[in-house]
Protein backbone atom coordinates (compact mmCIF):
# COMPACT_ATOMS: atom_id res chain seq x y z
CA UNK A 1 0.00 0.00 0.00
CA UNK A 2 2.83 2.36 -0.77
CA UNK A 3 1.68 5.11 -3.10
CA UNK A 4 4.48 5.89 -5.54
CA UNK A 5 6.17 9.16 -6.31
CA UNK A 6 4.37 11.34 -8.82
CA UNK A 7 0.95 9.73 -8.53
CA UNK A 8 -0.72 12.20 -6.18
CA UNK A 9 -1.29 15.90 -6.72
CA UNK A 10 0.42 18.56 -4.62
CA UNK A 11 -2.56 19.44 -2.38
CA UNK A 12 -2.97 15.79 -1.38
CA UNK A 13 0.74 15.45 -0.67
CA UNK A 14 0.82 18.62 1.42
CA UNK A 15 -2.30 17.67 3.37
CA UNK A 16 -0.86 14.24 4.09
CA UNK A 17 2.46 15.69 5.19
CA UNK A 18 0.75 18.21 7.48
CA UNK A 19 -1.46 15.56 9.10
CA UNK A 20 1.54 13.29 9.58
CA UNK A 21 3.54 16.12 11.14
CA UNK A 22 0.69 16.71 13.58
CA UNK A 23 0.41 13.03 14.41
CA UNK A 24 4.15 12.76 14.97
CA UNK A 25 4.14 15.78 17.26
CA UNK A 26 1.45 14.18 19.43
CA UNK A 27 3.23 10.84 19.23
CA UNK A 28 6.57 12.25 20.37
CA UNK A 29 4.88 14.17 23.17
CA UNK A 30 3.24 11.00 24.46
CA UNK A 31 6.36 8.92 24.02
CA UNK A 32 7.68 7.67 27.31
CA UNK A 33 11.42 7.30 27.90
CA UNK A 34 11.06 3.69 28.98
CA UNK A 35 9.25 2.75 25.81
CA UNK A 36 11.84 3.94 23.33
CA UNK A 37 13.39 0.46 22.87
CA UNK A 38 9.93 -0.99 22.34
CA UNK A 39 9.15 1.66 19.76
CA UNK A 40 12.45 0.98 17.99
CA UNK A 41 11.84 -2.75 17.84
CA UNK A 42 8.31 -2.34 16.54
CA UNK A 43 9.62 0.14 13.99
CA UNK A 44 12.07 -2.53 12.82
CA UNK A 45 9.28 -5.08 12.67
CA UNK A 46 7.17 -2.73 10.57
CA UNK A 47 10.16 -1.97 8.35
CA UNK A 48 10.79 -5.67 7.70
CA UNK A 49 7.12 -6.69 7.50
CA UNK A 50 6.70 -5.09 4.08
CA UNK A 51 9.19 -7.62 2.74
CA UNK A 52 6.97 -10.51 3.73
CA UNK A 53 4.94 -11.06 0.65
CA UNK A 54 1.62 -12.89 0.80
CA UNK A 55 1.15 -15.06 -2.27
CA UNK A 56 -2.65 -15.21 -2.02
CA UNK A 57 -5.09 -13.23 -4.09
CA UNK A 58 -5.01 -11.34 -7.36
CA UNK A 59 -2.46 -8.63 -6.62
CA UNK A 60 0.90 -8.19 -4.98
CA UNK A 61 0.49 -7.58 -1.25
CA UNK A 62 2.59 -7.82 1.88
CA UNK A 63 2.30 -7.66 5.65
CA UNK A 64 1.88 -4.21 7.16
CA UNK A 65 1.47 -4.70 10.93
CA UNK A 66 -0.06 -1.28 11.56
CA UNK A 67 -2.75 -2.80 13.79
CA UNK A 68 -0.11 -4.29 16.06
CA UNK A 69 1.82 -1.01 16.08
CA UNK A 70 -1.32 0.88 17.13
CA UNK A 71 -2.24 -1.65 19.77
CA UNK A 72 1.18 -1.70 21.44
CA UNK A 73 2.30 1.87 20.90
CA UNK A 74 -0.72 4.15 20.69
CA UNK A 75 0.18 7.61 19.37
CA UNK A 76 3.94 6.97 19.13
CA UNK A 77 3.01 4.65 16.23
CA UNK A 78 3.04 7.82 14.13
CA UNK A 79 6.77 8.65 14.36
CA UNK A 80 7.58 4.92 14.31
CA UNK A 81 5.72 4.32 11.05
CA UNK A 82 7.19 7.51 9.58
CA UNK A 83 10.74 6.30 10.20
CA UNK A 84 10.01 2.81 8.90
CA UNK A 85 8.36 4.12 5.72
CA UNK A 86 11.19 6.59 5.22
CA UNK A 87 13.70 3.76 5.30
CA UNK A 88 11.56 1.62 3.01
CA UNK A 89 11.43 4.46 0.50
CA UNK A 90 15.16 5.10 0.82
CA UNK A 91 16.42 1.53 0.77
CA UNK A 92 13.79 -0.39 -1.19
CA UNK A 93 12.19 2.38 -3.30
CA UNK A 94 8.79 1.41 -1.92
CA UNK A 95 6.57 4.45 -2.12
CA UNK A 96 8.56 7.64 -2.35
CA UNK A 97 9.96 10.55 -0.39
CA UNK A 98 7.35 13.06 -1.57
CA UNK A 99 4.49 10.68 -0.84
CA UNK A 100 5.92 9.81 2.57
CA UNK A 101 3.50 12.06 4.44
CA UNK A 102 0.43 10.60 2.77
CA UNK A 103 1.64 7.02 3.15
CA UNK A 104 2.47 7.50 6.82
CA UNK A 105 -0.92 9.00 7.55
CA UNK A 106 -2.69 6.24 5.60
CA UNK A 107 -1.04 3.58 7.78
CA UNK A 108 -0.71 5.36 11.13
CA UNK A 109 -4.15 6.93 11.40
CA UNK A 110 -5.93 3.53 11.23
CA UNK A 111 -3.43 2.33 13.84
CA UNK A 112 -4.51 5.09 16.24
CA UNK A 113 -8.20 4.49 15.55
CA UNK A 114 -7.75 0.79 16.28
CA UNK A 115 -5.86 1.65 19.43
CA UNK A 116 -8.83 3.63 20.75
CA UNK A 117 -11.36 1.07 19.54
CA UNK A 118 -9.74 -2.14 20.72
CA UNK A 119 -6.89 -1.58 23.19
CA UNK A 120 -9.16 -1.58 26.27
CA UNK A 121 -10.97 -4.69 25.16
CA UNK A 122 -7.71 -6.49 24.41
CA UNK A 123 -6.47 -5.72 27.89
CA UNK A 124 -9.76 -6.75 29.51
CA UNK A 125 -10.21 -9.79 31.72
CA UNK A 126 -12.47 -11.81 29.46
CA UNK A 127 -10.23 -14.00 27.34
CA UNK A 128 -12.66 -14.49 24.51
CA UNK A 129 -13.44 -10.80 24.14
CA UNK A 130 -9.75 -10.00 24.39
CA UNK A 131 -8.86 -12.41 21.61
CA UNK A 132 -11.69 -11.20 19.41
CA UNK A 133 -10.66 -7.60 19.94
CA UNK A 134 -7.03 -8.36 19.07
CA UNK A 135 -8.08 -10.05 15.83
CA UNK A 136 -10.43 -7.20 15.00
CA UNK A 137 -7.63 -4.74 15.70
CA UNK A 138 -5.27 -6.27 13.13
CA UNK A 139 -8.10 -6.78 10.65
CA UNK A 140 -9.63 -3.32 10.93
CA UNK A 141 -6.31 -1.49 10.71
CA UNK A 142 -5.68 -2.94 7.25
CA UNK A 143 -9.27 -2.41 6.17
CA UNK A 144 -9.15 1.27 7.17
CA UNK A 145 -5.70 1.61 5.59
CA UNK A 146 -7.06 0.27 2.29
CA UNK A 147 -9.92 2.77 2.42
CA UNK A 148 -7.47 5.59 3.16
CA UNK A 149 -5.45 4.65 0.08
CA UNK A 150 -8.64 4.73 -1.97
CA UNK A 151 -9.50 8.15 -0.54
CA UNK A 152 -6.04 9.50 -1.44
CA UNK A 153 -6.40 8.24 -4.98
CA UNK A 154 -9.84 9.79 -5.45
CA UNK A 155 -8.16 13.16 -5.98
CA UNK A 156 -6.18 11.81 -8.91
CA UNK A 157 -9.42 11.19 -10.76
CA UNK A 158 -10.01 7.59 -9.77
CA UNK A 159 -13.55 6.81 -8.65
CA UNK A 160 -13.56 5.97 -4.92
CA UNK A 161 -15.66 2.81 -5.13
CA UNK A 162 -13.62 1.32 -7.96
CA UNK A 163 -10.27 1.80 -6.24
CA UNK A 164 -11.62 0.87 -2.81
CA UNK A 165 -12.96 -2.42 -4.17
CA UNK A 166 -9.62 -3.29 -5.76
CA UNK A 167 -7.53 -2.36 -2.75
CA UNK A 168 -9.80 -4.00 -0.18
CA UNK A 169 -10.13 -7.16 -2.26
CA UNK A 170 -6.37 -7.39 -2.70
CA UNK A 171 -5.80 -6.98 1.03
CA UNK A 172 -8.46 -9.39 2.32
CA UNK A 173 -5.86 -12.14 2.90
CA UNK A 174 -3.59 -9.62 4.62
CA UNK A 175 -6.45 -8.55 6.91
CA UNK A 176 -7.05 -12.12 8.05
CA UNK A 177 -3.36 -12.91 8.49
CA UNK A 178 -2.67 -9.71 10.39
CA UNK A 179 -5.72 -10.32 12.53
CA UNK A 180 -4.22 -13.67 13.48
CA UNK A 181 -0.74 -12.21 14.04
CA UNK A 182 -2.18 -9.51 16.28
CA UNK A 183 -4.28 -12.10 18.11
CA UNK A 184 -1.30 -14.35 18.83
CA UNK A 185 1.04 -11.50 19.68
CA UNK A 186 -1.44 -9.92 22.07
CA UNK A 187 -2.26 -13.28 23.66
CA UNK A 188 1.41 -14.05 24.06
CA UNK A 189 2.21 -10.67 25.57
CA UNK A 190 -0.79 -10.79 27.86
CA UNK A 191 0.39 -14.05 29.35
CA UNK A 192 4.08 -13.25 29.58
CA UNK A 193 4.44 -9.48 29.69
CA UNK A 194 1.09 -7.94 30.53
CA UNK A 195 2.82 -4.72 31.54
CA UNK A 196 3.62 -4.10 27.87
CA UNK A 197 -0.07 -3.67 27.22
CA UNK A 198 -0.56 -1.78 30.46
CA UNK A 199 2.07 0.85 29.77
CA UNK A 200 -0.01 2.06 26.89
CA UNK A 201 -2.97 2.70 29.13
CA UNK A 202 -0.99 4.34 31.87
CA UNK A 203 0.26 6.85 29.36
CA UNK A 204 -3.04 7.70 27.69
Amino acid sequence: MHISEGVLSAPVLVTGAALTAGGCAIGLKKLDYDRIPQVAILTSAFFVASLIHIPIGPSSVHLILNGLMGLLLGWPAFPAILIALFLQALLFQFGGITSLGVNTFNMAFPAIICFYLFAYAVKGGNNLISMGAAFACGFTAILLGSLMVAVSLVFTGNPFLGVAKVVVAAHLPVMVIEGLITLFSAGFLKKLKPELLEVVHAKR
Binding site: M1, H53, A84, F92, F94, T156, K193
Partner: protein
Protein backbone atom coordinates in the same frame (compact mmCIF):
# COMPACT_ATOMS: atom_id res chain seq x y z
CA UNK B 1 2.42 -10.09 42.81
CA UNK B 2 6.16 -10.26 42.55
CA UNK B 3 6.10 -6.88 40.97
CA UNK B 4 7.53 -4.77 43.82
CA UNK B 5 9.20 -1.74 42.32
CA UNK B 6 11.35 -2.82 39.40
CA UNK B 7 14.24 -0.56 38.58
CA UNK B 8 14.26 1.33 35.32
CA UNK B 9 16.92 -0.92 33.80
CA UNK B 10 14.96 -3.98 34.78
CA UNK B 11 11.86 -2.72 33.06
CA UNK B 12 13.88 -1.65 30.08
CA UNK B 13 15.48 -4.99 29.52
CA UNK B 14 12.18 -6.76 29.92
CA UNK B 15 10.67 -4.49 27.32
CA UNK B 16 13.55 -5.20 24.98
CA UNK B 17 13.25 -8.94 25.38
CA UNK B 18 9.56 -9.17 24.81
CA UNK B 19 9.67 -6.86 21.85
CA UNK B 20 12.46 -8.86 20.32
CA UNK B 21 10.23 -11.90 20.41
CA UNK B 22 7.74 -9.95 18.34
CA UNK B 23 10.37 -9.10 15.80
CA UNK B 24 11.41 -12.72 15.48
CA UNK B 25 7.77 -13.68 15.09
CA UNK B 26 7.42 -11.21 12.26
CA UNK B 27 10.55 -12.53 10.61
CA UNK B 28 9.47 -16.14 10.82
CA UNK B 29 6.00 -15.55 9.44
CA UNK B 30 5.23 -16.85 5.90
CA UNK B 31 8.46 -17.61 4.08
CA UNK B 32 9.42 -14.83 1.77
CA UNK B 33 10.89 -16.44 -1.31
CA UNK B 34 9.77 -13.49 -3.33
CA UNK B 35 10.05 -10.02 -2.02
CA UNK B 36 7.67 -7.24 -1.81
CA UNK B 37 6.32 -4.14 -3.14
CA UNK B 38 6.78 -1.71 -5.94
CA UNK B 39 6.26 -1.91 -9.66
CA UNK B 40 9.05 -2.08 -12.16
CA UNK B 41 8.75 -1.13 -15.80
CA UNK B 42 11.40 -2.41 -18.15
CA UNK B 43 11.73 -1.97 -21.90
CA UNK B 44 14.04 -3.07 -24.67
CA UNK B 45 14.30 -2.70 -28.40
CA UNK B 46 14.39 -5.43 -30.99
CA UNK B 47 14.50 -4.29 -34.57
CA UNK B 48 11.95 -1.49 -34.86
CA UNK B 49 9.72 -2.78 -32.10
CA UNK B 50 9.86 -1.68 -28.48
CA UNK B 51 8.94 -4.37 -25.95
CA UNK B 52 7.94 -3.49 -22.40
CA UNK B 53 7.57 -5.70 -19.35
CA UNK B 54 5.82 -4.64 -16.17
CA UNK B 55 6.02 -6.49 -12.92
CA UNK B 56 5.69 -6.08 -9.19
CA UNK B 57 8.96 -6.44 -7.37
CA UNK B 58 7.95 -9.92 -6.24
CA UNK B 59 7.84 -10.94 -9.89
CA UNK B 60 4.07 -10.90 -10.32
CA UNK B 61 3.10 -9.33 -13.65
CA UNK B 62 1.03 -6.16 -13.80
CA UNK B 63 -1.98 -7.06 -15.89
CA UNK B 64 -4.16 -4.58 -17.67
CA UNK B 65 -2.14 -1.59 -16.54
CA UNK B 66 -1.78 1.61 -18.52
CA UNK B 67 1.47 2.40 -20.29
CA UNK B 68 1.99 5.81 -21.83
CA UNK B 69 4.83 6.67 -24.18
CA UNK B 70 6.27 10.17 -24.38
CA UNK B 71 8.97 11.66 -26.57
CA UNK B 72 11.92 13.73 -25.36
CA UNK B 73 9.92 16.94 -25.12
CA UNK B 74 7.08 15.33 -23.18
CA UNK B 75 4.51 14.90 -25.94
CA UNK B 76 2.41 11.81 -25.59
CA UNK B 77 3.01 9.56 -28.59
CA UNK B 78 0.78 6.64 -27.75
CA UNK B 79 -0.68 4.66 -24.90
CA UNK B 80 -1.71 1.08 -24.35
CA UNK B 81 -2.51 -1.60 -21.80
CA UNK B 82 -0.40 -4.51 -20.68
CA UNK B 83 -1.62 -8.00 -21.47
CA UNK B 84 -1.98 -10.98 -19.14
CA UNK B 85 1.77 -11.51 -18.86
CA UNK B 86 2.43 -7.83 -18.20
CA UNK B 87 3.79 -7.18 -21.66
CA UNK B 88 3.06 -4.43 -24.14
CA UNK B 89 4.88 -3.75 -27.37
CA UNK B 90 4.68 -1.12 -30.06
CA UNK B 91 6.42 -0.05 -33.25
CA UNK B 92 9.01 2.62 -32.66
CA UNK B 93 7.08 5.78 -33.50
CA UNK B 94 9.99 8.28 -33.78
CA UNK B 95 13.76 8.16 -33.50
CA UNK B 96 13.83 10.19 -30.27
CA UNK B 97 14.28 9.33 -26.62
CA UNK B 98 11.25 7.38 -25.48
CA UNK B 99 9.95 7.78 -21.95
CA UNK B 100 7.50 5.09 -20.91
CA UNK B 101 5.32 5.53 -17.83
CA UNK B 102 3.52 2.62 -16.20
CA UNK B 103 0.52 3.28 -13.96
CA UNK B 104 -0.56 0.15 -12.10
CA UNK B 105 -3.35 -0.33 -9.60
CA UNK B 106 -3.28 1.04 -6.03
CA UNK B 107 -1.12 4.03 -6.80
CA UNK B 108 1.92 2.28 -8.16
CA UNK B 109 3.98 3.96 -10.83
CA UNK B 110 7.30 3.56 -12.56
CA UNK B 111 8.99 4.82 -15.69
CA UNK B 112 11.73 3.76 -18.04
CA UNK B 113 13.63 5.72 -20.65
CA UNK B 114 15.12 4.34 -23.85
CA UNK B 115 17.59 6.86 -25.27
CA UNK B 116 17.52 7.51 -29.00
CA UNK B 117 20.98 5.96 -29.34
CA UNK B 118 19.79 2.60 -28.11
CA UNK B 119 16.92 2.64 -30.58
CA UNK B 120 19.24 2.88 -33.56
CA UNK B 121 21.57 0.28 -32.08
CA UNK B 122 18.66 -2.11 -31.89
CA UNK B 123 17.99 -1.56 -35.58
CA UNK B 124 21.63 -2.23 -36.48
CA UNK B 125 21.57 -5.44 -34.56
CA UNK B 126 19.31 -6.90 -37.21
CA UNK B 127 21.93 -6.61 -39.89
CA UNK B 128 24.56 -8.78 -38.27
CA UNK B 129 23.54 -11.75 -40.37
CA UNK B 130 24.19 -9.98 -43.65
CA UNK B 131 27.56 -8.80 -42.29
CA UNK B 132 28.71 -12.30 -41.57
CA UNK B 133 27.31 -13.43 -44.86
CA UNK B 134 29.33 -10.80 -46.70
CA UNK B 135 32.49 -11.74 -44.84
CA UNK B 136 31.97 -15.37 -45.68
CA UNK B 137 31.49 -14.52 -49.37
CA UNK B 138 34.70 -12.52 -49.35
CA UNK B 139 36.67 -15.40 -47.93
CA UNK B 140 35.13 -17.75 -50.46
CA UNK B 141 35.99 -15.46 -53.38
CA UNK B 142 39.56 -14.91 -52.16
CA UNK B 143 39.92 -18.61 -51.96
CA UNK B 144 38.67 -19.07 -55.50
CA UNK B 145 40.97 -16.36 -56.80
CA UNK B 146 44.24 -16.82 -54.95
CA UNK B 147 44.54 -20.24 -53.46
CA UNK B 148 46.84 -22.57 -55.31
CA UNK B 149 46.77 -26.19 -54.44
CA UNK B 150 43.91 -25.88 -51.98
CA UNK B 151 40.86 -27.49 -53.51
CA UNK B 152 37.57 -25.58 -53.37
CA UNK B 153 35.59 -26.40 -50.25
CA UNK B 154 38.67 -27.18 -48.19
CA UNK B 155 40.01 -24.50 -45.90
CA UNK B 156 43.58 -23.27 -45.68
CA UNK B 157 45.15 -22.72 -42.30
CA UNK B 158 44.81 -18.95 -42.74
CA UNK B 159 41.09 -19.27 -43.25
CA UNK B 160 40.70 -21.64 -40.34
CA UNK B 161 42.29 -19.02 -38.15
CA UNK B 162 39.79 -16.44 -39.37
CA UNK B 163 36.70 -18.42 -38.46
CA UNK B 164 36.75 -17.89 -34.67
CA UNK B 165 37.10 -14.15 -35.00
CA UNK B 166 34.29 -14.00 -37.56
CA UNK B 167 31.99 -15.97 -35.29
CA UNK B 168 32.93 -13.79 -32.37
CA UNK B 169 32.19 -10.62 -34.29
CA UNK B 170 28.82 -11.97 -35.31
CA UNK B 171 27.94 -13.02 -31.78
CA UNK B 172 29.02 -9.68 -30.37
CA UNK B 173 26.73 -7.89 -32.75
CA UNK B 174 23.85 -10.22 -32.08
CA UNK B 175 24.22 -10.02 -28.32
CA UNK B 176 24.82 -6.32 -28.05
CA UNK B 177 21.20 -5.36 -27.32
CA UNK B 178 20.86 -8.22 -24.84
CA UNK B 179 23.99 -7.22 -22.99
CA UNK B 180 22.30 -3.91 -22.31
CA UNK B 181 19.29 -5.75 -20.95
CA UNK B 182 21.31 -7.75 -18.46
CA UNK B 183 23.13 -4.71 -17.21
CA UNK B 184 20.20 -2.36 -17.08
CA UNK B 185 17.28 -4.51 -15.95
CA UNK B 186 16.19 -2.63 -12.87
CA UNK B 187 16.71 -4.44 -9.60
CA UNK B 188 13.84 -4.75 -7.18
CA UNK B 189 15.82 -2.77 -4.64
CA UNK B 190 15.66 -5.28 -1.82
CA UNK B 191 18.77 -6.92 -0.50
CA UNK B 192 19.74 -8.54 2.75
CA UNK B 193 22.34 -5.88 3.45
CA UNK B 194 19.77 -3.12 3.04
CA UNK B 195 17.37 -4.86 5.42
CA UNK B 196 20.07 -5.18 8.05
CA UNK B 197 21.19 -1.63 7.34
CA UNK B 198 17.67 -0.32 7.87
CA UNK B 199 17.28 -2.13 11.17
CA UNK B 200 20.69 -0.85 12.24
CA UNK B 201 19.61 2.66 11.34
CA UNK B 202 16.50 2.39 13.52
CA UNK B 203 18.52 1.16 16.48
CA UNK B 204 21.06 3.88 15.87
CA UNK B 205 18.30 6.48 16.22
CA UNK B 206 17.12 4.72 19.37
CA UNK B 207 20.64 4.82 20.78
CA UNK B 208 21.02 8.53 20.09
CA UNK B 209 17.67 9.36 21.69
CA UNK B 210 18.41 7.20 24.71
CA UNK B 211 21.84 8.76 25.09
CA UNK B 212 20.55 12.30 25.19
CA UNK B 213 17.55 11.41 27.33
CA UNK B 214 19.72 9.64 29.84
CA UNK B 215 22.12 12.57 30.09
CA UNK B 216 19.28 14.99 30.57
CA UNK B 217 17.70 12.65 33.07
CA UNK B 218 20.90 12.43 35.10
CA UNK B 219 21.27 16.20 35.19
CA UNK B 220 17.71 16.54 36.46
CA UNK B 221 17.95 13.70 38.92
CA UNK B 222 21.34 14.71 40.28
CA UNK B 223 20.24 17.23 42.91
CA UNK B 224 17.12 15.21 43.63
CA UNK B 225 19.16 12.21 44.70
CA UNK B 226 21.44 14.44 46.72
CA UNK B 227 18.70 15.78 48.94
Amino acid sequence: MPKGNPSRIDRLSRTIWSSQLLLILALLAPTSHALAHRVVLFAYVEGDTVFTESYFSDGKRCQNSRIEVFDASGNKLLEGKTDKSGEFSFKRPKPTDLRMVLTASMGHKDEYVIPAGELSKGAEGKTWQSDVHEAGKKVFQEEKRGAKGAPVGQLTRHEMEQIPSLVEDGLDKKLEPTMGIHVERPSTGVSFIRVIGGIGFIFGIMGIILYFRSRRGREKEGPLHGS
